[in-house]
Structures are given as C-alpha cells and as structure tokens.
C-alpha cells in the first residue's frame, strides 16, 4: 500500500507542477536579459494561475456592487487598454468582507463603503495608493476627501455617494411618509421590505430611536434590535432584500422599502408611482470608494481602472446609467447639461437633488464610521438571531 500512496503523491505533485506554469529565469551573467517563460497549462482567462502576465495578457479582477456600472464602460476600458476585466459583484459590504476573508477571491480592486474601508484599513487588507498614477484624483471634490474613513487621503479614490432613504409606492400607502416609523407600522403589514444587511437595517432603527448610527452602547443597539425583531414577529416585513428590491418595487409587489437614492431613480424610471424621502429624523449618507487590495497582483492595471472611472467622461456616463452621484465636481455640475444633450429634454431638478443632495441636506445625515470589533460581533449575533 505504501508504494501506491507514494505513486499517487508523485502523480499529483507532477500534475500540479505541470499545471501551475512556473517561471524559469536565467540569472547568471551570460543572460541576455530576456526571460523564457513556461506557461504550461495556464488558462488564458487568468484562471487558476492568477500570476502576472505569464502570457503577456493584462488582467484585472474587479469586485463591485450589482447594477453599479455602465457595462459599456467596462467594454470601453478593455478596448482602450487591452486589459481583460474579470468583473464580479458582491451584495453588501458585509458579504464583500466575508468573500475577502474566506480567501476564495483574489480581487485587485474593490469598491466598499466608508465604514468598511476603515475596517479594511484597520485589518491591513488594502494598500496605500500611488496618486501619481491616478491623475484624475484631482477632479474629485474636496468635500469627499479627508473623510473619517481615510483622513489623510492615502487609500481611496471616491467613486459614488448618496443617501439611504425610504422608497414608497404612492398608490399603496396612505398619506405621506415622513418618518422611519412607517417601516415598523402595522398599517403597512406585509408590505415592507427590510434591507438585508445588518449595518443599514440597525442604522435605520437607531435613527428612528434617536440614537447615533455609530453608537457602541449595547443597550441602544439591543433596543434597535427589539424594534426590528418585534416588527418581524408582527409580520410587517414581506422579506429581507438587497438588490431584489428593484423587481419588487418596480412591479408593485411591496409598498415600502429602504434603499439608496441612486437605485430609487432607476426604479422611478420604470415605475413613476414611487417616491423617495429622507425622513425627518435624519438619515445616513455614504461614500463608496475604490481601493486596491494589499495582495493585489495587478496594481498598475487597477490604477488605470480607477483613473479611467474617475475621469469626467466616465463619471458622466456612469452617473447617467446608475443614477448615483459622482464625486467628480466637474461631472456633477455638467450632468444636467449632459442629460439635455443626450435625451433632448431637461433633467427634472427634483431628481437631480435626490441624486446629489445639497450640503444642507447632508448636514442632517450621518456618515457611518467603523465600529469596534466587540460591537461588530454584537451586530453579527443579533443579525443571525433576527433570521431565526
């Protein structure tokens, strides 16, 4: 039996060596400087061998949110640079974090939100950027620089921003919605969609109860939990959704949901009965920013990608497609004009203000900051309990 085991091991080893495609370089003095590469079984789409440029093809692994980019931009970037983009999406900051932690993914560039960026910096998972290679960083408005998650502007290039508010179907709710209380109200029983990530779901409840979204006070968080759990028990929630919200709201299958301003505008295009409101108690505003992961293997490609998307043209195209506001000052100003040129009609300024609220409105909104690990664990535990 011993022989068999040895044979099997040898076979596996040989196979793995043949498949991995190791690089052989000549390192003694007589070398002409050229390196010969042996890329045996490496697959051309960056497959199992995620190594840099074994076959001269440039690759970039991107992870973004769903419905968060104009797909034509990916195409344009690929044609312009010859870099092949492997594009995947994550559902929420928490699941992106799981994806990175599990080790199953080797993304180069990701687009997390503010509080998650802090956490990633804290855990040394993203690297400092070389802004010399990202000249378009200049075009980003100052109000998006030096925020709490990246106070010294070392790690991030902001990509989008917006608010989290209440979306409702005017034909399905009575009266106007002004408060977060409508999420937990018996009047909307079975027609409310709870947002499917712990930070936002608890955040909404905390604002309603008058606490800070960044509280670390266990009692306050537990009260928020009780509020949601109680509503859940009473059957207020139709479901827990992230991007599923599009279909449900567009087709009038639910009356109330909490989601991001940009996505509201996408839904509004399909179903004009929908309304968006930032409740009187205040709300949350967020910034999503591009980051390069510490162990990224395609850093220069990632820089090109970030720079490409930060340009005014890309920002305009993207804003037009996903309806999230860009932090590019020029693009933000030009957008109404761009809209008129593209569609031949004026942009409804109400919509523009929902997409890019004024500084005054933002003052009423709170930004998430990273929570200490203890509080994060509490969030996780309570979140699991909520699913029971």
């Amino acid at each position: 039996m011993k022989k068999l085991t040895a044979l099997t091991l040898a076979c596996t080893l040989a196979a793995s060596l043949a498949l991995t495609g190791c690089t052989i370089e000549r390192v003694d003095g007589t070398s002409t400087g050229g390196s010969s590469t042996d890329n045996g079984g490496s697959t051309d789409n960056g497959g199992s061998t995620g190594n840099t440029q074994t076959d001269g093809k440039r690759v970039l692994n991107v992870c973004n949110w769903g419905e968060y980019i104009d797909v034509d931009l990916i195409q344009e970037f690929q044609e312009k640079t010859g870099i092949q983009v492997n594009y995947q999406t994550a559902e929420s900051n928490e699941s992106l974090y799981s994806l990175l932690k599990t080790g199953g993914a080797n993304y180069d560039v990701i687009c997390p939100s503010d509080y998650m960026i802090s956490q990633l910096i804290e855990e040394d998972m993203i690297q400092k950027l070389n802004y010399d290679n990202i000249p378009n960083y200049e075009k980003i408005g100052d109000q998006f620089k030096g925020l709490a998650f990246d106070p010294n502007n070392e790690y991030t290039v902001p990509s989008t921003w917006g608010t989290l508010g209440i979306i409702s179907n005017k034909t399905m709710v009575d009266g106007e919605i002004t408060s977060w209380s409508s999420l937990y109200d018996d009047a909307n029983k079975g027609n409310v969609l709870l947002i499917n990530n712990s930070r936002d779901a608890f955040g909404n409840a905390l604002i309603y109860l008058g606490y800070s979204v960044n509280t670390t006070n266990e009692d306050e968080i537990r009260k928020a939990y009780d509020l949601i759990a109680d509503a859940n028990k009473r059957g207020i929630f139709q479901g827990k959704v992230m991007d599923e919200v599009f279909n449900k709201m567009e087709q009038g299958n639910a009356a109330i949901a909490t989601y991001y301003a940009g996505d509201y505008l996408t839904m509004y295009e399909v179903n004009p009965d929908l309304a968006y409101v930032l409740p009187e108690e205040g709300a949350n505003w967020f910034v999503d920013a591009w980051c390069i992961l510490k162990n990224a293997q395609h850093v220069s490609e990632a820089e090109e990608w970030i720079n490409f998307l930060a340009s005014t043209e890309s920002s305009l195209a993207n804003m037009d497609y996903i309806w999230y506001a860009s932090p590019n000052t020029e693009a933000l100003e030009k957008y109404p004009e761009y809209y008129k040129e593209t569609y031949g009609e004026d942009l409804d300024m109400d919509l523009y203000n929902i997409m890019a609220p004024s500084a005054e409105v933002l003052k009423k909104c709170e930004n998430y900051v990273v929570l200490p690990e203890e509080t994060r664990n509490l969030y996780n535990d309570l979140w699991i309990q909520l699913g029971l």
Partner: protein
C-alpha cells in the same frame, strides 16, 4: 410491466409536465419581449438576442460553463471507467468502504461539499503561496544558472475543474459498474489464457462489454455540471464566473431578458441534439428489428 394506456395516466403526466414546463415556457416567451421585463409584454423583438452577443460577461460565462463541464465530464469518464474496473477487481473488503467514499459527493449536500472544498483549496493554495514567495530554487543546467519561481495561485478555473471532476466521477462509476457486474468474469481470463496481454484484454474484451455504460454515463454528469451553482459558487474564485453564478447575481437585481435569451438558445440546442440522437436510435432499433426477420 403491463403496458396499458388510460386517460387518467395521460392526464397525470400532462399535469406534471405542465407544472415542470410552465416557468420555462414563460421565460422563453419573455426572451422575445421588446421591454426589459419578465411580466409586462410589449411586443415581439429579437433585440435581447443581439444584445446577448455584445455582452462579454455573459458570453464568457457561458464559455466557462461549457468548457468546465465538458472537460470535467471527459476526464471523469476516463478516470471513472478505469476506477470502476479497478474497484470491480478488488476484494469486497476493500471495495465496500471505497464505494461508501464514492457516494459521498453524490449524497452530501452541495453546500457542504462546496464549503469543504473552499476551505481545503484556500488552505492548500495558502501553503503553496507561502512556499512560492519564500523559497526560490536555482538550477544549474548546462552551465547556465536558472531561477525557478513558482507563481502565486488562487481559486479559479483549475479549482473549479477539480471540483466538477470530483462530483462527476461517482456518477460515471455508478453507470459503468452494473455493466461490469453483468460481464462474464471468465471472459477476461479466457482472453488472457489465449495469449492476450493485459492491455489487449482490456481493449478487446472489457471495453466493448461495458461500452453501453460508458456511452450513457456522461449525459447525467454533464447535465449536472452545467446546472451546478452551489459548488461552483464556492470554488470558482474571483476571475472565473459560470453562467449559474452570473444568473445568481442577477436574480437579485432582476434578470435581464438576455439571460432568458441565452437559456432559450441552450435549451433549443439541447432539445434538437436529443431529438437527433433519439431519432437515430429508433431508426437503428428498427433496422435491427428488420434484420431479425
């Protein structure tokens, strides 16, 4: 069994097939919809089919899916056939525990297999990458010194393929084993007594005997490979997406009719292939029947 058709049977079959096919027909129907919706019909259009071929993400994922399924099925069929012969020649004492292990990938929940493989691959590749970064070998070959650098690896097409092969092999073994058991054990011995070598005996006696099992074997693993989502989801890593993974991310934000279009194409292609194969088989059977008389 006694062959007797009656209306009740047909009705039952009809109802169940309606249940199975209604959602599929619906999505085929909406692939021709002019609007971006799978609820509201706005007139016939082929625009989603045109759009489909411009969508690199979907085309690439279809390519990945078909490639991984085909490779996994071919490799699994070869390995599975040999293994079945090996297992069949073993003593029961060895064979029975191995057959139990064999049934693990089939009987285990997909999510457990997926999660287990994910943990395993991450650990192995992590170890490999550690070695690759910290150890470099230099080899002196014909007077020149070469440095061998092992690349850093991550989950991707390779791990996806391994996972698919692993859950495909048991199905192949299951379809080949019965044929082996039906085979007359003395045939091989006879062949060898008559001077056949080991290899000749294999190709001339065993292989033709079990061919039906080998031929019918791959269909099910291939189908399961194409349909698989859970295991791929955990083993494909960040650079490779299969169609199922693409669809999963879309089921959240709303499936675009492009996906309906690509599924319609796949469905029709398979339908046509199966019809051709079956018509041929029927003809062959009829021809065989004629020869008898």
């Amino acid at each position: 069994m006694k062959k007797k058709t009656n209306l009740g049977n047909r009705l039952l079959i009809g109802i169940v097939f309606f249940f199975l096919y209604a959602p599929i027909l619906l999505l085929i129907f909406f692939s021709f919809n002019d609007a971006n919706s799978s609820v509201i019909w706005q007139g016939f259009s082929l625009r989603w089919y045109t759009k489909l071929f411009q969508n690199q993400l979907i085309i690439q994922s279809v390519y990945n899916t078909l490639l991984v399924s085909a490779l996994a099925t071919i490799i699994a069929t070869i390995v599975g056939t040999f293994s079945a012969i090996g297992l069949y020649s073993m003593r029961r004492k060895f064979r029975n525990p191995l057959m139990t292990v064999n049934s693990i990938p089939m009987m285990n929940a997909d999510i457990v297999t997926g999660v287990a493989m994910c943990l395993f691959f991450v650990a192995v590749l992590g170890g490999w990458n550690y070695l690759a970064v910290n150890y470099r070998f230099t080899v002196n070959l014909f007077g020149a010194v070469y440095r061998i650098t092992f690349p850093q690896l991550s989950l991707g097409f390779g791990t996806l393929l391994i996972a698919h092969i692993t859950f495909n092999i048991p199905y192949v073994i299951l379809s080949v084993s019965p044929k082996l058991r039906q085979m007359d054990k003395n045939l091989v011995d006879a062949a060898q007594d008559l001077g056949c070598t080991w290899v000749q005996a294999f190709f001339k006696v065993i292989l033709p005997e079990i061919m039906p099992g080998i031929v019918s074997g791959p269909l099910i693993p291939f189908t399961i490979s194409v349909d698989d989502f859970v295991i791929s989801y955990f083993t494909a890593g960040s650079a490779t997406s299969t169609l199922a993974m693409q669809i999963y991310s879309m089921t959240k934000k709303g499936v675009t009719p492009e996906i309906n279009a690509v599924s319609t194409i796949l469905f029709v292609v398979v339908l046509v292939l199966l019809i051709i194969v079956n018509v041929r088989e029927i003809r062959a059977e009829k021809a065989a029947a004629k020869r008898v008389y």
